[in-house]
Symmetry: C2
Subunit: 389 residues, 2 copies
Amino acid sequence: MKRIYFDHSATTPVDKRVLKEMLPYFGEIFGNASSMHSFGREAYKALEQARGRVAGLLNCAPGEIIFTSGSTESNNLVLRGIIKALGEGKKAHIITSSIEHDSVMEPCADLEKQGVAVTYLPVKPSGVVDVGELRKAIRPETILVSIMYANNEVGVIQPIAEIAQELSKRDKKIYFHTDATQAVNALDCDVNKLGVDFLSLSAHKIYGPKGVGALFIKNKSPLKGIQLGGRQEKNLRSGTINVSGIVGLGKAAEIAGEEREKNNKKIGKLRQKLVKGIIKSIPDLLFNTDVNNSLPSHAHFSFRGAEGESILLYLDMEGIAVSTGSACASGSLEASHVLSAMGVSEEIAHGSIRFSLGKYNTHAEISKLLKKLPPIIGKLRKLNPIYKK
Amino acid sequence: MKRIYFDHSATTPVDKRVLKEMLPYFGEIFGNASSMHSFGREAYKALEQARGRVAGLLNCAPGEIIFTSGSTESNNLVLRGIIKALGEGKKAHIITSSIEHDSVMEPCADLEKQGVAVTYLPVKPSGVVDVGELRKAIRPETILVSIMYANNEVGVIQPIAEIAQELSKRDKKIYFHTDATQAVNALDCDVNKLGVDFLSLSAHKIYGPKGVGALFIKNKSPLKGIQLGGRQEKNLRSGTINVSGIVGLGKAAEIAGEEREKNNKKIGKLRQKLVKGIIKSIPDLLFNTDVNNSLPSHAHFSFRGAEGESILLYLDMEGIAVSTGSACASGSLEASHVLSAMGVSEEIAHGSIRFSLGKYNTHAEISKLLKKLPPIIGKLRKLNPIYKK
């Protein structure tokens, strides 16, 4: 059975062109990029080429990019690193939203234990942050605002440029970070247009390898490293440079920029077919993705009377991979904090399935899903003693 | 010109067998190991197989291994994580040595700024930590001792089991960490024989990929995560699991264990030839590696009257890659803190070259070095106006 993958928000396969560029950097060109000899210099050259490619995608200077092990590290570094640079021994305040990824939520909770104040902005029912609420939340001691560019669960896009503009009106500089992990495939990530000071991304969400990511740090923005040692990456991220991974990220970034429009068009059509088909064939559901303000890849539904994990497992038996929310939170029985923030009741949130499409998906795959899903929902509802249509 | 690589302490090429095992985990088996569907389950299976292999190398339970981005992260995690778990709001004391890698030294310096007391033990002229000094340094508030297993610059081996025994005599538990990054290829890393609670290692030093490492955490040892988010790796190291990298580390660990003896024998003979040849043909040098208590791969010399970087660059022009110290510290003009701690004067320390041999080196390569090096030293000494033999 040829399996079908609709979970690109969790991770993506490595594009063959990306792997091809990476391959020489395992065995042949294997130097430590910090070494002075020729093996080191060729590794360094590859590192800097990749930095240029990522900078190209974000329209920034190569010197404004540092490499990390992924977005989780990038997010942790921004949150802790700016407090380390600006907030130690002082009153400090961070503003974020109530629908951020755990890699922002959990460091924020940890910083709260250390005495940093954190405001978690509410969102509208569509999942969008209210810029008016943000304005009200700003305090004299606000150091950082961290709002994701697009949400990993429902795919909703946040008004990053508008928030940046709001922040720029202040007398005192408030730094602005966006976690763009989910956005890079589909949205323009020009940091000048966005107006951000920090931007996080991961290679494995854009058809690159796992274990590598980047952080954009606008020229001269204050940040102190958390992982210390060999002073790599301007002393902001010590540890031997992961050359093969970074080469992969560079190529993946280049492809993401070049093929964004083409992929968006294709994936958007697939989503349209998926959404229409599901809404037509399955009653009593919530469609949690605002198609007019979301990543084209995402379609998030809550099916009343059917448990998300059961739907996932039944679809898995048919060779179709979907998710109940974020992969990171799987295993957790708590309802998604994103849906809660959007006002979805816990009861219906438990029947949630996220479809996240990718550039290799086909119409035939959507057709198969549309054939398989309705009877699964029907069966689960029949088995549910308290479900009454 | 076929180049020669004598810098295995900085990094190693990926063994072909390692790369072969990794390859399917980029494009074919690409799932997120936290996903519940079949793509996730096969990734998870690979993850757990790799964990078993690393555990096999260390003779511990698979549940005592977590994966990180490398030893720098593992070291940072132990040092910060144990303070987070046991030392917050209390008087806390760490003992380490004055010859540790920067990824131990710098987090220690950072913890000092936060009020943690740190003792940096002196070493004997051979580079070995004095266990008597360690005993004297212990305080009631000592939480952790962190001593590397083998040194990255001169290759000296520390008496880890003896230190563990000393610590076990105390009424109060003092946790013991060893950075085994340099040791894994050559030394028995059985954590029971060593008696450690934490052990760090990196894949790229054992013919595995860059960007991945592990931390052994003895059952129930207290530690709190620093990088937070998706709660992977028992919530001690969040971030999407780097499956291909971890598969590579697993295979590299398996090979390291199986072929250790064979490689040690081969590399030991090569070193013998190198050391004899250099001592015979070049006068007025220090040989800083105690051949009776060091990694068989390492030979560290200080050549009076010749500058290390110049030697490196001249050898590089001959296609021979060596290092002046640690790759991580290259670019720095300060004399090595390891040599300083061993009592080598700054003046002669500046003429240092580290040869670190690997399993692919040959006798012919050593012969070439022995032909090329003496005239280089001779030339540099001639050019040096203050050098008088």
